[in-house]
């Protein structure tokens, strides 16, 4: 028993170690909240004085090796404790009939059986035995095991998710299609074990609409899309900010209003027409979006600096756009060439502009929306773990196992009770049973 193995097992399954690790995890998370947000003015000063703080990852606590190590150790400890609990639960709960009743056997036994049955105990009395056992909610003994098992599943699922999850954000304009290739994403995060499977899907944006509140904040967005896999349409439907669309292990989210794509038509000398699709990307922060772009007019040396307003407002005291809906679109342009400004003003949907023999019109404008796609096959494991924890906790506090013993000792009835939790309540229940046995109720 005193071997190294058993000592190690005792150490790994000790609640002291569990408590120590929970305290460490709490302290680590606390450091994470304090330092990672980097909002407190004292933090940059602290870092300047003690650069070591940055070296040990205090500005990015939740991905540091030591934070991960605490989680892994706690995971091992929880798993070991769960196994140890199973061993303990398999042994029957020991109850001693410590309390005298003043009632004699066997009349008392008969009455005790009735009382226990009325109190919804599962009663067992061996033939000619001198002991009655009443048990209730004994499955509740597994509550702690279930709860801890859930925690293990959550953490394992989270690690798996961290290693295998892929999430990416991509823009697509109405009428356009996004093809899943690595360089097409605005931002992409892949777990170290994520298997590169680009080309898995295509998303065609057929319609897009948005609504803004009175403060010009975008309050809702809705997209009507078709998802293709292997070149074939597999799902067509609507994605909203509260309703993503799932296709296999992929889930598509409505992410943001990325910008607008005005279609321009440049008519040059000799009536030569050149279509031009502008991508006006948002470069501001909500609710003050700014959709700008700098480009060169094709076939010329003319440099254009442009800003787009979807619902242009001429009132100089108000914002340049009344809303983010495409209603009265206008493109503020500054065209320069040959060292001078050729045009400075607004191009609207109704009126074209001319400069240096060129004519520019804007026949159509569509939205440019951003989506997020997530491929996380471990999510189901995390959720299973979550609900297992909740189920375990529910059992732990709402389904309390109880056991009552009524036994004959020297011709008299004695009683005793056991519970895993709430000993006072159990004692009150035993006292009630004794009072009923003694006809004091």
């Amino acid at each position: 028993m005193n071997s190294f193995g058993s000592r190690l097992w005792r150490f790994v399954t000790s609640t002291r170690l569990a408590l120590f690790l929970i305290v460490l995890l709490t302290a680590g998370s606390l450091l994470g909240v304090i330092f990672e947000s980097n909002k407190l003015p004292v933090i940059p000063q602290l870092i300047a004085v003690f650069p070591l703080l940055e070296n040990i990852g205090l500005l990015n606590v939740f991905t540091t090796w030591w934070y991960m190590a605490i989680v892994v150790l706690l995971l091992l400890n929880t798993a070991a404790c769960t196994v140890a609990q199973v061993t303990r639960i398999r042994k029957p709960a020991a109850v001693n009939p410590d309390y005298d009743t003043g009632v004699s056997w066997p009349d008392g036994a008969r009455k005790a059986k009735e009382i226990l049955k009325r109190k919804r105990y599962r009663v067992e009395m061996p033939d000619n035995g001198n002991r009655i056992t009443g048990e209730k909610h004994m499955f509740g003994r597994w509550a702690s095991v279930i709860m801890h098992l859930g925690l293990v599943i959550v953490v394992l699922g989270a690690f798996l998710s961290l290693a295998t999850k892929m999430s990416g954000e991509f823009p697509v304009y109405v009428g356009g299609t996004f093809r899943d290739v690595h360089k097409g994403y605005i931002k992409i995060d892949e777990g170290s074990l994520f298997f590169e499977r680009h080309g898995a899907f295509e998303l065609e944006l057929k319609r897009f609409s948005l609504a803004t509140d009175k403060n010009r904040r975008v309050k809702s967005m809705e997209s009507y899309v078709t998802i293709y896999t292997n070149g074939k349409p597999v799902k067509t439907g609507t994605i909203t900010m509260s309703r993503p669309m799932a296709v296999g292990s992929l889930t598509f989210y409505q992410y943001s209003l990325f910008g607008y794509t005005p279609s321009l038509l440049l008519t040059g000398p000799g009536n030569q027409k050149t279509p031009l699709l502008l991508l006006m990307e948002n470069r501001g922060f909500a609710p003050n979006f700014r959709f700008t772009s700098n480009f060169i007019l094709p076939g010329t040396d003319f440099k254009v600096s442009a800003e787009f307003f979807p619902d242009y407002n001429e009132n100089p005291r108000s914002p340049k756009t009344r809303s983010w809906d495409i209603k009265t679109p206008a493109l503020k342009m500054n065209v320069s060439g040959n060292g001078r400004t050729l045009f400075a003003g607004y191009l609207t949907g109704n009126e074209s502009v001319s400069f240096e023999g060129y004519n520019l019109s804007m026949p159509r404008v569509v939205y440019w929306a951003a989506f997020k796609v997530v491929n996380d096959s471990s999510l189901i494991m995390v959720y299973t773990g979550f609900w297992t924890v909740v189920a375990g906790l529910g059992l732990l506090y709402l389904y309390v196992p109880k056991k009552v013993i009524i036994a004959e000792v020297d011709g008299k009835v004695k009683a005793g009770g056991w519970t895993q939790r709430y000993r006072i309540s159990m004692w009150e229940e035993v006292r009630e049973i004794i009072a009923e046995l003694e006809n004091k109720h």
Binding site: L19, I22, L30, S37, S242, Y397, I424
Partner: protein
């Protein structure tokens, strides 16, 4: 809107009198707790009307911004307190803790802007309801657990003085009640975190993003986990566990009231301002 504010202020006034009755009983060793409870119940009537009107006007539950969040938190806390003292009349004295906290919170709510904010699209999900429902019950249950713990500390210190202190339930009963409320609150907190994660995943494609409020909720859960482990496996009881309970509630309260001040969080626009 005007009726809602009037009903709110009536509720504040009645809660204030109830708090005074509890404080008077505590200070002058008088047993006027029943009157305090009656007043708390009376205050709940205009409070319910105020929240009901608000609900109708805004078209959504009272859970956006300080005014709605704190007011509905107080409503749930007082309702739970009233139910608990009905179930165990010996716990009436917890009003000494519950009512001042409730008054403070509803006072803060009344100081905040009652301007109506439209429900963001990402909030139109049942998971948010589940998240908020369990959050409110978690806070209420943990407040009652803390109340029991404070009574343990009070009883230990002043029991020999007699008077109403003798009416506080026995220490072992208080200890078990504190444990029960804390355990129940721990469960509610777990469901709150899980429901919040599912909601976040549905809205933003990430079930956990180490947002300050999110992380602080985890910290609170871990701290309560430490409390429960210490009691169940290390045999902690009495004053030191009671102090831990008070500390734990402080940690939890910071998630609701403090984080929004110091850090920007996904929750900030909705639980502050």
């Amino acid at each position: 809107m005007r009726y809602e504010i009037v009903f709110h202020w009536i509720a504040v006034a009645v809660y204030a009198i109830s708090t005074l009755v509890f404080v008077y009983s505590l200070t002058f060793h008088k047993d006027r707790f029943r009157l305090g409870v009656i007043l708390a119940a009376a205050g709940l009537v205009p409070h319910t009307l105020a929240l009901g009107i608000r609900w109708i006007i805004t078209g959504h539950g009272p859970y956006l911004r300080v005014y709605e969040v704190y007011s509905s938190d107080v409503w749930v806390a007082i309702l739970v307190y009233l139910l608990v003292q009905k179930w165990k009349p010996g716990l009436r004295v917890i009003g000494v803790v519950v009512m001042p906290v409730a008054l403070l919170l509803i006072g803060l709510a009344m100081m905040a802007s009652p301007e109506i904010r439209e429900l963001p699209e990402t909030f139109r999900t049942y998971w948010l309801m589940v998240h908020i429902f369990f959050a409110k019950f978690a806070y209420s249950s943990l407040l009652l657990g803390t109340g029991c713990s404070i009574l343990i500390l009070v009883k230990k210190r002043y029991e020999t003085r007699g008077g109403w202190y003798k009416k506080i339930p026995a220490l072992d009963i208080l200890d078990e009640l504190a444990y029960s409320f804390t355990g129940f609150g721990f469960l509610m907190l777990a469901v709150m975190i899980v429901a919040g994660s599912i909601w976040a995943n549905n809205a933003w494609g990430s079930y956990w993003s180490w947002d300050p409020v999110e992380t602080w909720s985890l910290i609170s859960w871990l701290v309560y986990g430490i409390y429960l482990h210490l009691r169940r496996t290390r045999g902690w009881r009495g004053a030191r566990l009671a102090w831990l309970s008070v500390f734990s509630f402080g940690v939890l309260a910071f998630a609701l009231f403090g984080i929004g001040i110091f850090y920007f969080s996904t929750h900030s626009p909705y639980i502050s301002g």
